[in-house]
Subunit: 333 residues, 2 copies
């Protein structure tokens, strides 16, 4: 029994531990997704919300609340809030990226259209807003409204930074904090806040979520160059084709000689790509150790996430959160 439990992935162990809460979150999501007047809404969202998403973000909220000894019921609302914000972001991301695949399935905007993706995303945003208002906690509202602004700002920054070889690692980090880490850190923080945890514990939860989110996104960007398309649900080299300056590319560009720089200028800034360019890009990434160094940075952020947990009380969940940080970077080893 113990052996089986330990052989499970940390994410699955946490899901098993939080099974009852997760069921309540799923029920709340289904109820609040429904629209009496606009039946297209669940049509569009069902395939995203129901499609076996890992529910990582809502689980972080539930875990943080439990870790801080919360005994009320509003952590369910907050977990659903976080998942709605995440889903709305995916829907809007599908419009902007013109990507063909999400979680291994065709994106909403191929099955429906851009307009539905935008408007149904807006609907989920406003639903999430209603859910958090129901908690009656102005601190929670403050945290989540700030997170929403940071997410939107990060997405716009990414838009302006892409195709621009002058993008630095500092700008990349700002984008990543916006598009990914802001929701991770808000998810853990509000779990502590709703439990009325001491300031030091809330700060620890924020720091954990922030570092975990950054590690998670760096790994994602790394896997775009070395992952298994079947396993990650998207194609190798998508970011290269979309001319996104992610960490591996930023490192390779910084280390490029004149000829290599001309290659990056043509493929990324000017967007003139032809067959074989992805292979050349991969060769350059390997030559300059860009993938290796990016992986090291991801591991560093995972380690920071683990250290952040130190001030938090002993709890079964604390170990699971620590293992989760390891697991996020295990995907690249």
């Amino acid at each position: 029994m113990l052996k089986t439990e330990n052989s499970q992935k940390p994410h699955d162990r946490m899901a098993a531990y939080l099974a009852e809460d997760l069921q309540a979150v799923n029920d709340l999501i289904r109820t609040r997704m429904a629209s009496e007047h606009a039946p297209r809404i669940p049509e569009v969202t069902a395939h995203l919300v129901e499609a076996g998403g890992k529910r990582l973000r809502p689980m972080l909220t539930l875990a943080a609340a439990h870790l801080c000894g919360y005994e009320g019921g509003y952590h369910i609302h907050l977990a659903a809030t976080v998942e709605f914000i995440h889903t709305a972001t995916l829907l809007h991301d599908d419009v902007v990226d013109e990507s063909g695949q999400r979680r291994g399935r065709p994106t909403a905007n191929l099955l429906w259209d851009n307009k539905s993706s935008v408007l149904v995303g807006d609907y989920l945003f406003s639903r999430s807003f209603q859910l958090m208002v129901e908690t009656g906690s102005l601190r929670v509202l403050d945290i989540l409204s700030n997170a929403s602004a940071t997410i939107a700002e990060g997405e716009v920054l990414q838009l302006t930074a892409s195709q621009d070889l002058a993008t630095t690692e500092a700008i990349y980090l700002q984008v990543v904090r916006g598009k990914t880490a802001a929701l991770f850190s808000a998810a853990t923080e509000v779990g502590g806040v709703i439990a009325e945890a001491p300031v030091a514990h809330v700060q620890a939860l924020y720091d954990y979520g922030d570092a975990l989110g950054i590690a998670f996104q760096i790994v994602d960007d790394l896997l775009d160059f070395q992952g298994d398309a079947g396993a990650i649900g998207k194609n190798i080299g998508d970011d290269f084709r979309e001319r996104k300056l992610t960490m591996p590319l930023i490192k390779a560009v910084a280390r490029a000689d004149t000829e290599e720089r001309a290659f990056w200028m043509r493929t990324i800034e000017k967007g003139r790509q032809s067959e074989g360019d992805l292979d050349t890009a991969l060769d350059l990434l390997h030559k300059h150790g860009a993938l290796r160094d990016t992986a090291a940075q991801a591991r560093d952020w995972a380690a920071r996430a683990k250290s952040a947990l130190a001030p938090l009380p002993d709890h079964k969940i604390k170990g699971m959160l620590s293992d989760l940080a390891d697991y996020v970077v295990e995907r690249i080893t």
Copy 2:
């Protein structure tokens, strides 16, 4: 002096009366629109927020707060909130699918692109959310989160109702309440709520905003068939070409004989339109008195808006709000 004042439009008289507040709202909008990290944001919003918008919705909030004797400063936040939500909605409305090009005035997404319209709209939504959290009023947050959900639902409903001849006047009214009246009524209601006005006054403000918003949208839909293209900033017949079932069309379809019904089936449901079809549509609208009856309904909603004001205290602004309701329908006489 008095004569000059009375010869002004009600909207301009109100703007003159609220000039100091409106200046504060404009300053707050400019400050909060700015993004340190993403300079594209004010680039995209400036042409919407700065371009001589009538500021009708924020003015309603300011007017309601003054009418209820509010002496604090949060009505400025709420007025900016309402304008941000309105602008975000316009940006998202401008997102088009390749198959459905918009005609008329240049939209943000022609000047920039779909990506910017979606993400900058999201940014404004989250900024509006931050602004209302700053007021510290959970009732205000409740009203505005509900309004946001109603707006999004109305927009999705409009999407599914368009091109569908089965659309009834009841569905049309639901769409209009969502896409237009929900923000009008929330704008007036929160003005009363922040002033801690008695329940009956808050209800009166809600009812006024609701009826005014409905009248406003019906007039807009009517002008699409009979307006002066220069004055309304879009072309006659846009809704017909986009196959939108607005009040005048719904009435004409309901009164159609077999042959006319075939015409509507072809042009609206199947979308096979050719030269001269708009003229035929206009003839049918006139023949069945659809424009005349739609105008009567708009006037009826404007009258309801004026009656709704009855319970409110005597105040210079009360007369201006009443005149504003008249003015909204004057555009069609």
